[in-house]
Symmetry: C2
Subunit: 326 residues, 2 copies
């Protein structure tokens, strides 16, 4: 174990790749590695980038890597792609990006596709962030495809959340408004060379201002930045905005560590307890044959699924102050 | 309890509405009602209808209700809309539809928005289906917004799954292909009066045929139906295709009862065990204060979240053959 930890900390790419694959595949043993790595986490700055398919997130991330590298920063990228639930593999569309940075030791790019494993995508992403963090990357960029609940959950677990839209998405902005406005720390209008960029900017500004009415003095007010990622325009501005947000967080919360935020820690612990609980109890129920027996009884019409789940679960839980009742 | 069951069975709209709201809100007591209703379920035919926003699902469902009513069938509709995770309320966009059928006792329409409650959207939907089933509705139409994993899970829990697309969605079909092709029993190209309907038809046909190479003789081959729901065109054809699929299922699996399919029962029981387990254990952890204490320790840097979750979970589980070890 110490050997694995040392290899990860020294940036051994093969070891890191294997651990992240184990996380993605839900291999139980990986928990022990994550425990051992934990003391070495908390140093990276984590940026979430989300938006609908086609807004140019990958190109933007590619340019961000470039700029960060020029500043001498090391970068880890997690491309989270759950759009292919049945095939089980992540599609990292932009292979060009991987090739371009593949010879650069300061950049590490991996994709995550986990669906259906206990704990889900949010937890897998968080664990993968821990690994890249322990690996010593200065910045970790978490790119998610789509704008569903899962993606929102993933980007919420970052320091700075960047929401990417393109001109003419007015209706879509409206549709995703409720979920998106609240999680965005910075908004980007990419492909800003297209017609309608100013209209999108003013629409978005209006919605944000309405949303901000409930804000207090001193709260962060999400800036909107126009970029043309493909022409490398506006990317530095975006990085400056991220730096501003970092300073804001640091000033407001003292220390930049995701696990210093009680709400975040509570959310994370809740999910970890859930996944651990399910994993352990299912192992018992499956090995004892109780689960399949209950399935039989439901199919045969002998019991309803609501009662069957009660019968399976309740005897497996230690109730405080009720010893020896079994 | 008997009174509630009788009221639901006799079609008392207020009681049914209340129970469905309780399901949506995750009120624990509703489980007992569901247990008592269970013997009266298994008679309805459940159709799932999904597709991207804007394809005209609501109009299609509205026309389906009309046609089914003309045939003397009673109809329950569940509009499942989790797109608004933060506001907590379901948006049922098409209020016209509700108005049109609001005076018809043979139609019952409700929306579900559950997010974040233990068990999630799939289980809430299934429980709501149970209620409409026990209420005596002949057909239950489950309409979901979006094409994410949650929506796929919801429509999989039906007898017949209808996937709705519109002309010119070629790229989108490609994008959602992996998840969608496998769950669709019937495909509908709505707004077929638009340009490109034949191209979409042939694209879809091609993809389905490629997918069907692995099919065995006698397997169901999903038909593709062109509809113009707004002009009431093709809707009868769709209902005929649903009827064909129903006959196929009946011939192949004998009896039309969702809880006679082992795979479905297994999936359902797994989810119910999960939600029951989490509900019970969290209650204990929160009431005892153990959970908040662990959050404190993580924030203070005294323990990692991986170990903390182990410490919370493992002592709560009754391990077989390990009595008195606590």
């Amino acid at each position: 174990m110490e050997d694995v930890v040392e290899k990860i900390r020294s940036g051994d790419v093969r070891t890191v790749a294997r651990i992240i694959r184990d996380i993605d595949d839900g291999i139980p043993g990986v928990r022990e590695t994550l425990k051992a790595l934990y003391p070495y986490t908390g140093n990276a700055y984590v940026v979430g980038i989300t938006g609908a398919p086609g807004v140019g997130k990958s190109t933007l991330v590619d340019q961000m890597i470039n700029h960060l590298r020029k500043k001498g920063k090391t970068v880890g990228v997690l491309a989270v792609d759950p759009t292919s639930p049945f095939s089980g593999g992540a599609i990292l569309g932009d292979r060009v990006r991987m090739q371009r940075h593949s010879m650069d030791e300061g950049v590490f790019i991996r994709s995550l596709a986990t669906r259906g494993h206990f704990g889900g995508l949010t937890q897998s992403t968080r664990s993968a962030i821990d690994v890249l963090d322990a690996m010593g990357k200065d910045y970790i960029l978490v790119e998610t495809v789509g704008v569903g609940q899962d993606e929102v959950d993933v980007v919420r677990n970052t320091h700075t959340t960047v929401i990417v839209v393109i001109p003419g998405m007015g209706d879509d902005i409206q549709a995703i408004k409720a979920g998106i406005l609240e999680v965005g720390d910075i908004f980007v209008i990419n492909k800003a060379e297209r017609e309608g960029a100013d209209k999108t900017l003013s629409d978005l500004r209006l919605m944000l201002d309405m949303d901000q009415k409930k804000y207090q003095e001193g709260d962060w007010r999400p800036p909107i930045i126009k970029t043309e990622a493909i022409f490398d325009k506006g990317v530095n501005e975006l990085l400056n905005a991220i730096e501003e947000h970092r300073k804001y967080l640091s000033k407001r919360y003292g220390i930049i560590h995701l696990r210093k935020n009680r709400d975040r820690v509570r959310e994370e612990l809740k999910e970890m307890v859930k996944s651990r609980l399910i994993e352990k109890v299912f192992q018992i129920l499956v090995e004892s044959g109780e689960f399949e027996k209950a399935v039989d009884q439901i199919v045969e019409g002998k019991i309803d699924p609501y009662s069957a789940s009660d019968n399976l679960v309740l005897p497996k839980i230690v109730v405080p102050g009720a010893k020896d009742e079994s």
